[in-house]
């Protein structure tokens, strides 16, 4: 006679069919020797679940109206019990989700797991990656502060460059003619309903395909994928395999648990992000910066040549997504092991190197002028102390005319233009005059901004910026004036 609990379980199972439906999935055979490489996907899913839980919690307090969003964020940070922690966990698990989905995609790419017969799993994964980035961008806007306000403005400026329909797209994006209440509500709708809904909608077939096609075995050099023989070989590997539960399931669970703990540690140590200044567009001193995920893009937009910029903004994302989507069709067969796919390895290295360098540059932002250097960063004393009155006048011009916002002295000041500590060893007197008056490179022409006396004083000051005893540079023009 079965026990009472057993009978209850049986009663439910007869109706739900859990044992016949779920157990085979849990215990479906996987190839042996997967190691710890296969844990990133499930950890991404864990992060997504944390996003949902903390997101729902935030949504019951956060006010998605432009008039009150900022106040409700401050309330969440300072007054709502544990509000700061849930905001922090939401932010850091978003970070975790972007990191882990990138690792997951990289692992799948490097191990050739996107090849036959898993092309559709990869394609769904590409859309999941895009949705994750979409969630990151829209979430950043819900943090309705100065960065959010101008961040939407930057998004609108980019969308506005689309030929013909650009302005219409901008108005759809903003929910009206300008950034305001309807913009926030639109992004709230996207972030809370549309994008998570689409993510779940695509996650279901993604996971279904993982089970249906089976987990790919560890790649081995010299064992290429051939659609004609693949199924038979995989059957053999599965026959010698082991059930997913408990050992490989345990690896996923352990890694996910570690990720959750790391997220909590980060959340407690660093707290929630923002909000920064209020979303008041008349606070003109704003220096908007995107969240870290978009720093490489921020850098790319600063560094691309202006005449190519629209093309880069509009075509680069399309090309990148197209390559990702088409990848399994032009590389769906053949070797899987990275040792036999040097181009694939090189592409990954270059990609991460590029993103890393661009991200670092985006963080330092040397192209951004230091808006307060002209008044806040004085000329070093050792430069000023040896100057004549005219040169001192020039130093004052240098400071007052905001040259310092773009030019450093002794490493202090803006990095937009070259450091001028030793400029007089590079440019002669006449070259300095020409550069000041006509500008050039990335420098505006100061011809109309300065009186002749100011130019003379400024250039005599700049002429002192060299090491003692170094010869002056000579230019053909200077020689001519002597003759």
């Amino acid at each position: 006679m079965p026990s009472r609990t057993q009978r209850i379980i049986d009663w439910f199972d007869l109706r739900l069919g859990i044992r016949t439906a779920v157990l085979p999935i849990l215990t479906h055979p996987v190839p042996r020797g997967l190691g710890w490489y296969y844990v990133f996907g499930s950890a991404t899913l864990t992060m997504f679940m944390m996003q949902i839980v903390t997101g729902i919690c935030l949504a019951v307090v956060y006010v998605p109206a432009a008039s009150d969003a900022y106040t409700s964020l401050e309330y969440l940070n300072n007054e709502q019990p544990l509000g700061w922690l849930l905001r922090a966990v939401h932010y850091w698990s978003a970070t975790g989700m972007v990191v882990l989905i990138s690792l997951h995609a990289t692992r799948v790419f490097l191990m050739g797991a996107f090849k036959y017969p898993r092309e559709l799993t990869w394609i769904l994964g590409v859309f999941l990656l895009l949705l994750t980035l979409g969630l990151a961008f829209t979430g950043q806007v819900l943090r309705w502060d100065q960065d959010a306000y101008w961040g939407v403005g930057v998004g609108a400026a980019m969308v506005g460059r689309v030929p013909f329909i650009g302005p219409a797209l901008v108005h759809v994006l903003l929910g009206g003619p300008n950034i305001g209440g309807e913009t926030l509500s639109r992004f709230f709708g996207l972030h809370v309903f549309v994008l998570p809904g689409l993510t779940i909608l695509l996650l279901v077939p993604h996971l279904y395909l993982v089970v249906r096609q089976g987990i790919s075995s560890r790649p081995a050099p010299g064992k290429p994928v051939d659609p004609k023989t693949y199924e038979a070989e995989y059957e053999k590997e599965i026959a010698a395999g082991e059930p997913f539960y408990p050992y490989d399931f345990a690896k996923d669970a352990i890694f996910s648990a570690i990720c959750v703990l790391v997220i909590f540690a980060l959340a407690i140590s660093f707290g929630p992000k923002g909000p920064s200044e209020p979303p008041d567009p008349t606070l003109i001193e704003a220096e908007p910066r995107p969240d870290w995920y978009f720093l490489p893009l921020f850098a790319l937009l600063a560094l691309s040549p202006p005449e190519m910029e629209t093309a880069i903004i509009l075509t680069l994302p399309v090309v990148a997504v197209a390559i990702l989507l088409l990848l399994p069709f032009f590389a769906g067969k053949g070797e899987r092991h990275p040792r036999r796919r040097p181009v694939a390895v090189l592409v990954v290295l270059l990609l991460f190197l590029t993103l890393g360098v661009l991200g670092w540059l985006g963080n330092v932002a040397p192209w951004s002028p230091e808006m307060f250097a002209w008044s806040g960063t004085p000329i070093p004393v050792h430069i000023v102390e040896r100057l004549t009155p005219e040169q001192l006048q020039g130093a004052a011009v240098f400071q007052n005319k905001t040259c310092r916002n773009c030019h450093s002295l002794d490493g202090q000041g803006g990095k937009r233009g070259p450091d001028l500590t030793l400029v007089a060893t590079r440019l002669s007197h006449s070259e300095l005059i020409r550069q000041v008056i006509q500008g050039g490179g990335n420098m505006p022409a100061y011809g109309k901004q300065l009186s002749p006396a100011e130019v003379e004083a400024l250039v005599s000051f700049l002429g002192t910026l060299r090491r003692e005893g170094e010869p002056l540079p000579r230019s053909p023009a200077a020689d001519e004036t002597k003759n």
Binding site: P177, L184, P281
Partner: protein, 180 residues
Amino acid sequence: MSEHESRSPKASGAAAESPPNRRSALGWLSVALGALATTAAGVPVVGYLLSPILRTPGDRWVDLGPVEEYPEKQTRLVDFVDPLHRPWDGQSERLAAYVRHDEGEKFQVFMVNCTHLGCPVSWFPQSGLFLCPCHGGVYYQDGQRASGPPPRGLYSYDSRVVDGRLQIRAGRLPTLQQPG
């Protein structure tokens, strides 16, 4: 039942089904009605979401105060309430502009948005330049592009002087293809 039908169960099954033309009519009806219902439900949804395109309120004139508040040959930062704002816009209902009073009734009123990617530019009267903090775009005092990545000069508002008061036409976020 005829003798033929009673002997052959297969044939009797086929006879019990509807005639083929009625089946295909039902099929077509379900497709047609389904399409109609989907359109009926879908068109308002799409129209609702795309309404910001269909309903494009034009810019409206905004008063920026008496002309005397703007000294000649100077550039001043002013703020005003977006004439197209929603009641729940909060602080984002406010907008800022740079007013440059050339002389007499000649004004230039610039939008604060950099023409590169829309960040707010700062005015430096000392050097007579607008600087953008994002990617280092620079503009001269008359709004012309001076250097950096901006593809054009600053966007400007239409302005007029009515009864000694400065007015500008404002409301829409400027973008490259729809500057004013």
